[in-house]
């Protein structure tokens, strides 16, 4: 589904990703771990098409087609979804209005009639209950005045509403309390199926107890320095990153 090859990315005159390879197939869950500043969010932003990131070498393809040149909205419509590490607040634009506009644009791309407002609202209510957000959050401005944990749950609500093909979750577990972590994990598990894929970026083994990854990668200094199965996460939890980055150096 996603194939990243030898990716080199420059941001603000600085090379952040330095030859990254990653292949994700449908039905898989991948986890990326790695030290602060190693380039995890940079990778998620580049995949989502954020302006300001220059691919100086390498390529990204999605379902066999190169997407390097596509706008963020085109990628989103193809099914790439990024749950942000720091979701922004958009005052006055209601969550519901925002989600409907997003969903309509995706339906349109697939040449489908947009979902009726009634069905949409019904679905939004059910799913907001699933992520433990009161219905009032649907009417509020996007993330406006939401607590850190509420913002993260709102990202999962969007994931469930939009049903993308590839979900990139950038530290969605950071800042969640124990119950919220469980709720969010359940949300992600309910999204998961054999046709879609998940890329989890996390610092904590804890999340991986709830969502079993098929692959765990370590990103250090702009490159994947080690890949393994879920046991790698346990090992990292015990040993930290130094042993890997040292051998990498």
């Amino acid at each position: 589904m996603l194939k990243v090859e030898n990716l080199h990315v420059e941001v603000a005159g600085k090379i952040i990703l330095k030859g990254l390879d990653l292949t994700i197939s449908a039905g898989e869950v991948h986890a990326i771990m790695g030290p602060n500043g190693s380039g995890k969010s940079t990778l998620s932003n580049v995949l989502a098409g954020k302006p300001g990131y220059t691919i100086i070498k390498g390529s990204i393809s999605f379902d066999g087609a190169a997407i390097d040149e596509l706008s963020p909205e085109q990628r989103a419509r193809m099914g790439i979804f990024l749950a942000f590490q720091y979701p922004v607040e958009i005052p006055g634009v209601s969550n519901m209005e925002f989600l409907k506009a997003a969903s309509d644009s995706i339906y349109k791309h697939r040449a489908l009639e947009p979902e009726s407002s009634m069905d949409f609202i019904k679905r939004a209510r059910q799913l907001s209950a699933l992520v433990d957000l009161d219905q009032g959050f649907l009417k509020r401005g996007v993330n406006e005045g939401f607590s850190g944990g509420e913002k993260k749950r709102n990202e999962i609500l969007q994931l469930l509403m939009l049903q993308p093909r590839l979900a990139i979750l950038d530290e969605t577990d950071s800042g969640l309390d124990i119950d919220a972590l469980k709720t969010v994990s359940e949300g992600i598990n309910s999204y998961k199926n054999s046709d879609n894929a998940v890329l989890l970026i996390t610092h904590y083994q804890r999340l991986l107890n709830h969502i079993q990854p098929d692959f765990v990668h370590v990103l250090a200094d702009g490159k994947i320095v080690r890949s393994g199965d879920h046991n790698l996460a346990t090992e990292l939890e015990a040993k930290g990153y130094a042993w890997l980055t040292d051998t990498a150096a």
Partner: protein
């Protein structure tokens, strides 16, 4: 537009004609006129007029206009026109006890309203008008031939909304007097006068006795005319004034606001949403004067400009020497929707007391790229994203729950019609 010389000549002629109207006002008018002679008409070289075109607000006649009748009407309100008349669709056939709404010219010589009028009319303004900044106030007074008095008796709470629908231009005047412990919710709607394009000079003078509570909202629809408004209020001890302004652009629009928090523990909340497009100018000047102890003022001002429009905001907080434990804040956030629009904002602080809390902040920004990316990352194209964020910003400035839908329609109509 007249030149100054013609203007003064015509004013003099008009002034002579006025002398037969409301004889009790004669001495007040003549006082205003002498002050005007002494202080002079506003001029561009004056500090507080440098963003304005003062000539735009000088007109010598009271002209009726054809309001297009698009005012917000509410079945549960007391709908009042500028003749002071209650219209048929109001909640009740008569005004509730303790509330008086009367045209100055209908007030009898021996009535109690007459006493109120003589006590309060021009009393705030007289104190302001030594400053050239407010000389438009004296111009209004010297040209005035009528106005409306709103009076709420001691301890009276007027439950329904008083919905004043201004439907003419020229020199207009509202005097609001709230006796001790009374409360009133007032909505003022300025005319939609695209038809005649004539000017408006609108003055609202309020006097709040101790413990009085005034909720006052003003809707200024888009207009191709020029209008000037002056709102001045005097607050007694523990009085509360909440002013909410919803202002769309006019060819020229200026609003001077002066609050005097005289009584101890009095409080003002001022919220303003200002929108302008298509080379319009919109100027709001606030002067929040803290005189009593433990007085509180909070100003939240939001400006949105596009397409060569110009918005100017001057927020001044003046804490007088005895106003200890004042708590004053001013927050002004502005959004430029393109790079041809301009927003000038200037907070001014003058503090003469030492135990005070005073916070102010002003920003002028463009739509954030982070917000646009957030929407785009969900499939929304960048033009739509920009539009939604701008709409959201406007919407988040419209806080009056009761007529929020109407306000949203009004602002969105202006915004959308301009964007398309």
């Amino acid at each position: 537009m007249l030149d100054r010389y013609q203007f003064i000549k015509q004013c003099e002629a008009q002034y002579q004609e006025l002398s037969s109207r409301l004889p009790w006002m004669d001495s007040i008018r003549s006082e205003s006129r002498s002050r005007l002679h002494a202080v002079g008409l506003p001029a561009k070289n004056h500090e507080y007029w440098k963003y304005s075109a003062p000539e735009q607000y000088l007109f010598s006649e009271n002209m009726p206009t054809n309001s297009r009748g698009k005012h917000w009407r509410c079945e549960d309100a007391l709908n009042i026109d500028m003749q002071g008349q209650l219209s048929g669709d109001s909640v009740c056939g008569a005004l509730p006890d303790g509330l008086t709404v009367e045209r100055f010219s209908d007030i009898d010589r021996d009535s109690s309203s007459r006493g109120i009028l003589e006590q309060h009319f021009n009393s705030n303004l007289k104190n302001l008008s030594a400053q050239n900044r407010y000389s438009m106030g004296d111009l209004n007074t010297s040209m005035l031939n009528d106005g409306v008095l709103i009076h709420v008796g001691k301890g009276v709470t007027v439950a329904p909304l008083l919905n004043m629908q201004l439907d003419s231009s020229g020199y207009q005047r509202l005097l609001v007097v709230l006796e001790a412990g009374s409360s009133l919710t007032l909505l003022e709607q300025l005319p939609i006068d695209e038809v005649t394009g004539s000017g408006l000079s609108h003055l609202v003078e309020s006097s709040l006795a101790p413990g009085a509570n005034l909720q006052h909202s003003r809707i200024q629809p888009a207009s191709t005319a020029s209008d000037y408004a002056l709102t001045s209020a005097h607050l007694g001890a523990s009085a509360y004034y909440n002013l909410n302004l919803y202002t769309l652009g006019a060819t020229n629009r200026r609003h001077d606001i002066n609050f005097k928090l005289v009584g101890d523990d009095s409080k003002v909340d001022l919220n303003a949403a200002l929108y302008a497009d298509n080379s319009q100018t919109s100027e709001t000047l606030v002067n929040m004067e803290h005189l009593g102890k433990r007085t509180v003022s909070q100003q939240i001002i939001r400006g949105i400009a596009t397409s060569r429009a110009r918005i100017s905001i001057n927020g001044r907080i003046h804490i007088h020497p005895h106003a200890q434990q004042t708590d004053a804040s001013l927050s002004n956030k502005n959004l430029l929707l393109d790079n041809t629009a301009r927003i000038n904002t200037k907070p001014e602080l003058e503090i003469y007391a030492d135990q005070v809390k005073c916070a102010h902040g002003a920003t002028v920004g463009q739509i954030s790229e982070e917000e646009i990316f957030y929407l785009r990352s969900r499939g929304i194209d960048s033009e739509t994203a920009r539009f939604m964020i701008a709409q959201g910003f406007i919407r988040s400035c419209l806080i009056d729950a009761e007529f929020k839908d109407y306000l949203e329609r009004l602002f969105m109509e202006a915004f959308i019609s301009w964007e398309q």
